[in-house]
């Protein structure tokens, strides 16, 4: 089975309140030293058969139309991550 992974992150200029909440919680666990945390989304799209150029093109289209909102998010990666 082929797998395409799509990573979506909030735009740098958009405040990421969830990431900030995580950053504030880490020191409470004794985990210090991480000055910022940003939280994004990872999508795993699977197909029967190999990941072809057409599959990647469809994944890119999905990434920009549904999986992300370009006003607030960037698609940072669309990659073939099929198990070897």
């Amino acid at each position: 089975m082929g797998r395409v992974v799509v990573d979506v992150m909030p735009k740098p200029e958009i405040l990421d309140p969830q990431g900030k909440a995580v950053a504030r919680a880490l020191p409470r666990l004794g985990i210090d030293g991480f000055v910022t945390v940003r939280q994004g989304k990872r999508f795993e799209l699977e197909v029967d058969g190999p990941v072809t150029d057409d599959v990647l093109a469809a994944a890119r289209q999905a990434a920009t139309t549904l999986l992300s909102n370009p006003v607030i998010e960037d698609v940072v990666r669309v990659a073939d991550e099929s198990a070897a």
Binding site: P10, E13, I14, L15, P17, Q18, A21, L66, L67, N69, V71, I72
Partner: protein, 231 residues
Amino acid sequence: MTRIGVVTFPGTLDDRDAARAVRVAGAQPVSLWHADDDLHEVDAVVLPGGFSYGDYLRAGAISRFAPVMTSVVDAAGRGLPVLGICNGFQVLTESHLLPGSMVKNDHLQFVCREQRLVVENNTTAWTRDFTAGEQITIPLKNQDGQYVADAATLARLEDEGRVVFRYHTVNPNGSRHDIAGVCNAAGNVVGLMPHPEHAVEPGFGPDGAAGPRTGTDGLRFFTSVLSTLVG
């Protein structure tokens, strides 16, 4: 009688209140179902609040692709008055009928309060029964209510007078430019975070000048669209 459609998505909460507001204003509410692309010859459409499709992915993101939205987007392009309230506003931005987007409140908390607003634009299909600069109070309740847009979009909205409502006294969610609601260029599509449909009947709304729960400022959203349609 003027027919105003109220859309129900899976997870919509405020469709009954919106239908009630339409009726109190003197129009006939018509229930529209997310999976039906037939608008049943309505004269205007309200997208009510709630958590359509559980807010999965992003608020309003899945609803945008519901069959009814294809028809709403088409009709809005031809001038049909459309009002998006809270989650309905999020659906309108995801549908690209309105610019910008909403992200989580800057303080990370759900907020529920009686919110003071300034009516900045009283020429839209949904605000013509207000006066420009008028202050009104209607309920606000949301988690993802922080209005964001890039600097160029904000400048364009300000220049074109398309900021319809601005938060007054308190900015409850970190929205850019204190924006509570915006409209499209033609003024027939309006979206806002606060809830006019919860302030249409004495006894059930926010506090008003005449005493506790006497506020009915929300009713004029719905009478405005009747003024627009009837002329």
